[in-house]
């Protein structure tokens, strides 16, 4: 049995809600893309390989026995 076989009772706000939700999602996507583009794209990410992490965490560059 499908729902349309039940006594019909339209929920008039669902279509409006779908429109509002889609508009809000579009705005959100635009804002997220803007944030990513301005602040968080790969160009803004510092490199973090093993050597750089070691230097940051344990300070290997200044080690007395360093090269």
């Amino acid at each position: 049995m499908v729902f349309r076989q039940l006594p019909a009772r339209v929920v008039p706000h669902e279509s409006n809600a779908a429109r509002d939700i889609l508009a809000a999602l579009a705005l959100k996507a635009a804002l997220l893309i803007a944030l990513y583009a301005f602040f968080f794209n790969p160009a803004h990410r510092p490199a973090s390989d093993a050597a750089q992490t070691a230097n940051a965490v344990v300070g290997t560059q200044s080690a007395k026995d360093g090269p």
Binding site: F3, R9, E14, A24, L35, F40, V57, V58
Partner: protein, 527 residues
């Protein structure tokens, strides 16, 4: 070394995004289950009023879901940009549950939410009900994986440190998934979400009843919210106790800070209901205590002590001292990877490497640290006591208030008197913001109480931050605040708009006369 204001600003940015994100999450968790319960009743009874309830609360769930979805992604942006060393050091483990969440739970939830909204005329009743439950299960699974990741930060288990790759590497995914902190945190958090959903439904229903609108609809919605909410509120307290017990096991300093317990008391320790913690003098003024209660809650025994802050600081000093050879060995291994003696030293002292790293705030080379610097680093393991102490008490106080509210409402509902009790309805309406306050307080206790660690006992927060310009963090923080404020305003606006429009037609009393043909409604569902 990163300047402290860069660390503070990066922490603030992460905290702001996490706390904004968590405005949406608990309502999604709670409403998804409530909608599934309502639709189950519809399928069982065939009464259209329950379908109407499912569709109406489903719209509100959809609005909140749409506004909340992907708001957590901004935290993942930050891992790469602001927390590059954190990402390198622990990303191999921390990223696993996050990836599973995206691939499994989020797609399950995202796919079936589409079917929920657009499948009413295309699916059978039972098929649609299954879809609705899958949306609810997907939401909860999402929370599970995120909390597994978070729990690993509180209790890093199932991993070891590799000095060559400078990464924590996974030993056992089973240990990560079945981390006891994850299990207790998950059930406590989703229960808090259920309470939030129940209070939302109750408050909106109370508003309709106070306005004399959609009476039959609102009475049934309130009954579901009260029954579900009472069970959820009781669960929050019971499961919160379990969550607290795991803190006792794995994060003793956090527990001591929550209790503002500066010195170890004889077992069983008393619970401080009220006090004024003073970080300068290391005292708690005007203490009001309940004997035995902390000992019983935290250790579930009468003869086990709950260590105080001073004792834990002494313990931290020992671990820092024991960790210094590991830090020295790691520095050596970075220059001479084949040094077997250094490798063995690192292995022997690996458990305390993280503690030695606390010294990096004061000494470039931990082995050169003075006794005074070791003392300072040990005291750094104490988080700010007063905010944690008070946040915890606000959260717990609200938790007990919710139990009282739901219990009174449940009693009124059982006597068919909810709609007539205007005082109760007004209190229920004004309770609406409180579950969010409780949930945010809970997160604050969990995360601020973890400081100074990004990963408990492994990686201090100040070493996890990327060396990026402070101005960049400040500007992106402003961008985040704008972004989330816009989303929150739209969320509240849309929820308010559709609550005001109400279910179906906007007539004062809804016509569900067709339901009479279905037969009498079960007494438990009727008012």
């Amino acid at each position: 070394m990163n300047p402290s204001h860069l660390v503070d600003l990066s922490r603030l940015q992460f905290a702001v995004t996490a706390m904004y994100h968590f405005l949406f999450v608990p309502l999604t968790l709670g409403l998804s289950i409530l909608v599934a319960i309502m639709e189950s009743v519809f399928v069982m009874t065939g009464r259209t009023i329950w379908r109407e309830m499912t569709r109406f609360w489903g719209i509100l769930f959809g609005i909140n879901f749409a506004m909340g979805v992907a708001t957590g992604i901004t935290m993942e942006f930050q891992f790469g940009t602001n927390w590059a060393y954190y990402s390198h050091y622990v990303g191999d483990i921390f990223g696993v549950p996050l990836a599973i969440e995206g691939l499994m739970a989020f797609f399950l939830e995202g796919t079936f939410i589409g079917l929920f909204f657009f499948g009413w005329d295309r699916l059978s009743r039972r098929q649609h009900l299954i879809v609705t439950w899958l949306v609810a299960i997907g939401s909860n699974l999402s929370a599970l994986w995120i909390l597994i990741a978070n729990a690993w930060m509180q209790n890093p288990t199932g991993a070891h440190f590799n000095s060559t790759t400078m990464r924590m590497e996974l030993d056992s995914i089973r240990d990560v998934i079945f981390n006891p902190v994850a299990q207790s945190k998950f059930v406590h958090t989703v229960s808090a979400g259920y309470v939030t959903g129940a209070i939302f439904v109750l408050a909106v229903s109370a508003w309709y009843l106070l306005k004399g609108r959609h009476i039959e609809f609102a009475k049934r919605s309130a009954t579901v919210a009260l029954s579900f909410g009472l069970a959820a509120a009781l669960s929050v307290v019971v499961l919160g106790d379990e969550s607290g017990y795991t803190v006792t096991e794995h994060q003793k300093m956090k527990l001591a800070a929550i209790e503002s317990e500066w010195h170890t008391e004889p077992a069983p320790a008393a619970f401080t209901i009220f006090g004024l913690p003073d970080m300068a003098t290391h005292e708690t003024h005007a203490r009001v205590q309940i004997p035995w209660m902390l000992g019983l809650i935290a250790t579930r025994s009468t003869d086990t002590e709950v260590p105080g802050i001073y004792e834990l600081v002494e313990h931290a000093k020992e671990r820092i001292t024991n960790g210094i050879p590991a830090a020295t060995a790691l520095r050596t291994l970075r220059q001479h990877p084949d040094d077997l003696a250094a490798r063995q030293t690192l292995k022997d002292h690996a458990e305390d490497l993280g503690y030695a790293l606390l010294l990096r705030k004061y000494a470039d080379d931990p082995s050169q640290a003075t006794t005074a610097q070791i003392d300072q680093a040990a005291w750094d393991t104490v988080p700010s006591v007063a905010p944690i102490f008070w946040s915890f008490r606000v959260m717990v106080g609200l938790g007990f208030f919710f139990i009282g509210l739901f219990a009174i409402g449940f009693y009124l509902a059982a006597r068919r008197r909810v709609a007539q009790s205007r005082t109760f309805l007004k209190v229920a309406l004004w309770t609406l913001p409180l579950p969010w306050i409780a949930a945010e307080m809970g997160w604050f206790v969990a995360e601020h109480g973890r400081q100074p660690w990004s990963i408990e006992g492994v990686l201090p927060t100040f070493l996890a931050v990327s060396p990026i310009p402070v101005s960049s963090v400040a500007i992106s923080l402003a961008g985040f605040i704008l972004f989330y404020t816009v989303l929150a305003v739209i969320d509240v606006y849309l929820l308010k708009k559709y609550v005001k429009l109400g279910p179906g037609t906007n007539s004062p009393s809804d016509d569900f006369s067709a339901d009479a043909a279905v037969g009498p409604e079960p007494a438990a569902l009727r008012h």
